[in-house]
Subunit: 395 residues, 2 copies
């Protein structure tokens, strides 16, 4: 019994954490519940069409399937569902009529052939990356509707009546979803992408800011506060999520393209540019991954002390540049102050060359120095990466 | 008109390439077409239940939605759909009966409340990563069925009859899908994952094998063939797809867990181990990303010549280790010969230290040497990474 209690408590904690991490999740759930119970009750009280079952089913089905977390995803699915139903319905009626010309025996064969051909080509089209990204759901609904319409045993007049009913229920359901998702605490995919990109840059900046204190470990030796290693080591791992953010970003960008203009975003906002910045951030995170394996490496202390100032400057100025760039993205302003930090970090990188030259000539054991040299070299790469990010944000 | 012709030709080429890249795509499309036209025609000829429309619709709908590229995905969706329909149906009938106790006025209010509560909690549960990964579709169907059943205006006897029909059509549809996907040219998600992991390692090996020739660029200077830079530079970019393979691997592992034992795979094959190896491969690919920015770096030729042998040995022996490990994965044997190559690369790494020491003391311009030193240091990391991969394959 005690086991059960702890298990329940664990689950409760998990739920709480999920809700606290992102309260919009709770709002989304409530929105979904509201939309569904409303549409269900409307149909409960008003069996509008011939029978309750079929029509209501399509409305409820539409709401359940189309309602998504972000506005863009909901719009995309609603659009796909509406257009695909319309097209496939029209084509299905056509196929039905064509097949009926072939007489009693030819009809089912011709229909089977139509269904086969259409289903096979449409399934194949789903392998195209472009279609997969934006119209996957539409193709599915297209196949579905075409099969239903063309194979149904009804006469054409009855069929058109049914198709009309079905299309209108689907449109009502879709509009309800779109309405609720736009006007009740909307979650815009574009804004999500925007913040996601800025957050990723901040994660990288976090690492770079802490790196100096962590690697040189100069507790108390210098007056600067940034050199004291941070107590909370979580910043050392946060950049890792950047490495795997590729799919999230692509999905958000796809959803964002469906969204109308909202807040500070125009309709055709350059979402591809975000993907580019995201890709550069991942490259930068890759360098951090390489850097992080040197954090605990050994090496002669005096050599490290010689290069310490420049390295810390490089990493902390890169961190500042990235933070400025991220906040410039968030506020959608030009990142003027970021350029100053970028210039600082580049100056530190070129100073480092001089320092390294003298430090290397002083150093007795060159072999021991290699990890530290690699660190500096990787930091220079990070600076270059930061510069690229700054450039592409400027575009 | 000419524009149109070239456009059509482009699309045709694209289709051809898609088919050639993976002929199973064509087979999948044909399978889908077959399954659909069969199930459509069965219902066309035999309107089994009361009306054709509703029942056939569920069978066709099930086939369209459940039929997926891999066996695991099809099984997972079929299972989710069946179980969710059953559970939600039972719960819906219960809710329906409970609400009917509340009298004429209380019934719709109580029903609305039930739908709201269930839809909200179920939607929230979809945010749990574990549920999202395996039961997302089931939760969707659960909400859908519950709404349909509980809100329908039918009496309980009629409801149970309908639920029974619907469940049986869904089961028939699911079984048809599972049958076709298992017995007609099956595509196993487990095998896909297996090959994907091996392929990723081979991509990394490709890069490492070509790296020596590319970086040291010693055309004709030494007799070994591996030192001549390859004409086809595509191997330099192939590793990049490894960096973004995270989502693909996780999806495949999720699907694979649904699959029964097949070919050389048991039912509870350690799919998580594959994910671990995949993660290590990505780490390794990150090092390559860092390495690749040094490929065209300048530096004194004589220093490079001094370290050339060991570096090339490290990278080519790591490449051989990875190739051996990949082929050991493919054939599911113990990678005995890989250990020899691994030992070679480690020996080269420790030899390198000696070589470096003398090379560094000979070198006049230490600053110029830094990129090359970084390259060696990163190669040592790659060797360490390769070792980790070998270890986790051994598990």
């Amino acid at each position: 019994l005690m086991k059960l209690v702890t298990k329940v408590r664990n689950v409760a904690n998990k739920i709480k954490r999920l809700g606290q991490d992102d309260p919009r999740r709770i709002i989304h759930s409530v929105k979904m519940g509201l939309a569904l119970s409303l549409i269900s009750l409307v149909y409960y009280f008003r069996p509008t069409y011939d029978s309750f079952g079929v029509s209501a089913m399509w409305a409820v089905l539409t709401v359940v399937v189309v309602f998504e977390f972000t506005v863009g995803a909901t719009l995309g699915k609603g659009f796909n569902r509406g257009v695909a139903t319309f097209l496939a319905g029209a084509l299905g009626v056509g196929a039905h009529q064509l097949a009926s010309l072939a007489g009693q025996e030819g009809e089912p064969m011709l229909l089977g052939l139509f269904v086969f051909l259409l289903a096979a080509t449409a399934s194949f089209s789903r392998f195209f990356p472009e279609i997969k990204a934006r119209y996957d759901y539409g193709v599915l609904i297209f196949i579905l509707t075409f099969c239903l319409v063309s194979v149904s045993g009804y006469r054409v007049e009855k069929l058109i009546e049914l198709a009309h009913q079905r299309l209108s229920t689907i449109l009502i359901g879709s509009f309800a979803c779109v309405f609720v998702s736009i006007f009740v605490y909307p979650v815009w995919a574009g804004e999500e992408l925007h913040n996601h990109i800025a957050l990723n840059m901040e994660k990288i900046a976090d690492f770079l800011e802490g790196f100096g204190g962590e690697y040189f470990d100069t507790e108390g030796s210098v007056g600067e506060t940034s050199l004291v290693p941070k107590k909370d080591k979580s910043f050392l791992d946060r950049y890792k999520s950047v490495l795997n953010s590729n799919t999230t970003e692509e999905n958000l960008a796809n959803f964002a393209r469906w969204e109308p203009c909202h807040a500070r975003f125009r309709f055709r906002h350059p979402w591809k540019q975000y993907l580019k910045i995201g890709g550069l951030s991942r490259q930068c995170a890759c360098r951090l991954e390489a850097l992080s394996s040197y954090i605990n490496s050994e090496g002669p202390q005096e050599f490290r002390k010689n290069i310490q100032d420049e390295c810390i400057k490089m990493s902390s100025e890169s961190a500042k540049t990235l933070t400025e760039l991220a906040s410039a993205i968030r506020t959608m302003t030009r990142p003027h102050s970021a350029y100053a930090h970028l210039a600082n970090s580049k100056a530190a990188a070129s100073n480092l060359k001089v320092t390294l030259k003298s430090a290397l000539s002083l150093s007795s054991d060159l072999l021991q120095v290699i990890p530290a040299v690699t660190v500096t070299s990787l930091l220079v790469e990070v600076v270059a990466c930061t510069e690229k990010i700054a450039e592409s944000i400027d575009e």
